[in-house]
């Protein structure tokens, strides 16, 4: 595979950029694979990459109904963090942070991981207490956490509202300095390019229409481009999980909801941290292009409509202005909605299923992007070894029956309350 570097860039420039290789091929599906991953999003692509890299399983196909990276990995607010209270989430995410830190070099694709720090603002004593508790949990799990007082927050983000004309004054915040952002499309493309180079077939515009199961074991899948035999099948389709589950006669503790986000027009750098509002649901960072990337609420009802909804965005931006009044003078450029696989305790599922050889990766709620490498890594392990890794042992499907819930927000089954 062609190596990307400043030298290859110069060399290619001198030949008019005529000699770049395909980043990934566009093959037709083969008759049979060892592993078929359904879903060409970030998690599916990462899974295929780690199957090849960590487990030397390369007879792998990724089946994507549209084009790779077109789902939530291509429409999110790019935040990467591991500031969780529960051990399962903290340890899993922190393992992911390590993978993020070396991702550009691993993939030979600049994913622009930018550890600029995330600050969760607190607006009450109760919240400061909750953050102190969460920060302590994080530190016990080896994750960096700093509790900031009001003055310290002001130092870092002076454009936040420290005036008297504020509804929810800032009491302080919890910062994870090593958290940050990455270039979302590049993550999908980088994984795709490496997976492809190791022999994985990336099959786009191929829709799964059914599954072949006999005697409780998966035999293959049916697609719009013919039947494909497979020893193992991994489901990695985020917001489409319920659609495929229906074809498998499974009902899952998952609902599909729409999350709204938007960006402003680009402006010169003014905000170099990721910041979340504590008196609502709003988060913001400034992209390298200068756009304010802002997200927040679910539409609040089951939805597969991938489109923006202004009343929701109004709500999101109201909180944005409450936190950073200067946003008022900017203009909203683009909005989008991403469909989320909301699990009933807000945490993901990476597990085997009752069908032999069928594996499930879903329930990412709003947190899917940051989990991309750790999700791919552990899912690959679960598929390759036919058993869960310690890191994803908490993310079991039966935890809802057993009561081993991992509920960071304490909202329970009302997934539509964000």
């Amino acid at each position: 595979m062609q190596k990307y570097s400043i030298f290859s860039l110069v060399k290619n420039a001198l030949t008019g950029h005529q000699n770049w290789d395909l980043a990934w091929k566009d093959p037709n599906p083969k008759e049979e694979y060892d592993v078929v991953i359904i879903g060409g999003g970030g998690h599916g692509l990462a899974t295929a990459y780690y199957l090849a890299k960590e487990h030397q399983i390369t007879k792998v196909a990724i089946i994507e109904k549209g084009w790779i990276g077109g789902g939530n990995v291509g429409r999110n607010t790019t935040i990467i963090r591991s500031n969780y209270m529960h051990d399962e989430n903290g340890l899993f995410s922190e393992f992911g942070m390590d993978l993020w830190r070396k991702m550009s070099q691993d993939l030979n694709y600049n994913v622009m991981f930018s550890p600029r720090g995330i600050i969760n603002l607190a607006h009450s004593d109760a919240q400061m207490n909750a953050y102190a508790r969460r920060g302590n949990s994080m530190r016990l799990n080896g994750i960096d956490a700093v509790l900031l007082n009001r003055e310290e927050v002001k130092e870092l983000i002076p454009m936040a509202d420290f005036s008297d004309n504020v509804r929810f004054p800032i009491f302080g915040g919890l910062m994870q300095p090593s958290a940050g952002t990455a270039r979302h499309d590049a993550v999908a493309w980088g994984y795709a390019r490496q997976a492809d180079s190791m022999g994985v077939d990336i099959i786009q515009n191929c829709e799964v229409t059914g599954f072949d199961i006999s005697a409780g074991k998966i035999k293959g899948i049916r697609t719009s481009r013919g039947n494909i035999k497979a020893k193992k099948v991994g489901l990695c389709v985020a917001g489409s999980t319920n659609i495929l589950a229906e074809k498998l006669n499974m009902t899952l503790p998952i609902e599909t909801h729409l999350l709204q986000a938007c960006v402003s027009e680009p402006v010169k750098p003014v905000l170099d941290k990721v910041v979340t509002f504590g008196a609502g649901h709003f988060y913001i960072s400034q992209s390298d292009k200068g756009e304010m990337v802002m997200g927040g609420d679910l539409d609040g009802y089951n939805s597969y409509a991938q489109r923006g909804n202004l009343p929701t965005l109004q709500h999101v931006l109201t909180e944005g202005i409450a936190m950073m009044p200067f946003l008022s003078k900017l203009k909203m450029l683009r909005t989008w909605g991403g469909i989320m696989d909301m699990s009933m305790d807000g945490s993901p599922i990476i597990d085997k299923t009752h069908i032999d050889g069928l594996y499930l990766n879903c329930g990412w709620c709003y947190g899917g992007f940051k989990a991309t490498p750790a999700s791919g890594w552990t899912f690959a392990h679960t598929i390759a070894q036919d058993r869960v890794h310690e890191l994803n042992s908490g993310y079991s499907l039966n935890r809802f029956s057993t009561g081993h819930l991992i509920d960071e927000k304490g909202l329970g089954t009302k997934t539509w309350i964000s």
Partner: protein, 89 residues
Amino acid sequence: MLHIKCPHCGMRSQNEFSYGGDATVKRPELNKEVTDQEWDNFVYNRVSPRGKHLELWQHLSGCRQWIKVERDTATHEIFKTYKANEEIA
């Protein structure tokens, strides 16, 4: 913003309502023995279809009645709305 026909009050804007989730799950009767599976199906498991979905809404800033709404989750088209205990056609 959805426009929902409250069967009691008429067409109203979505911001008067709050969502209540899948209306097809049925709470097992009190004092009745149910299997783990039945209970999990009530508490956790959801079909969440792409297409027609029967769901609960409460007309919170209206008559405060819980209603059932048959809506398409892809297009958001609302086909019909029902009172809390009205027969579903």
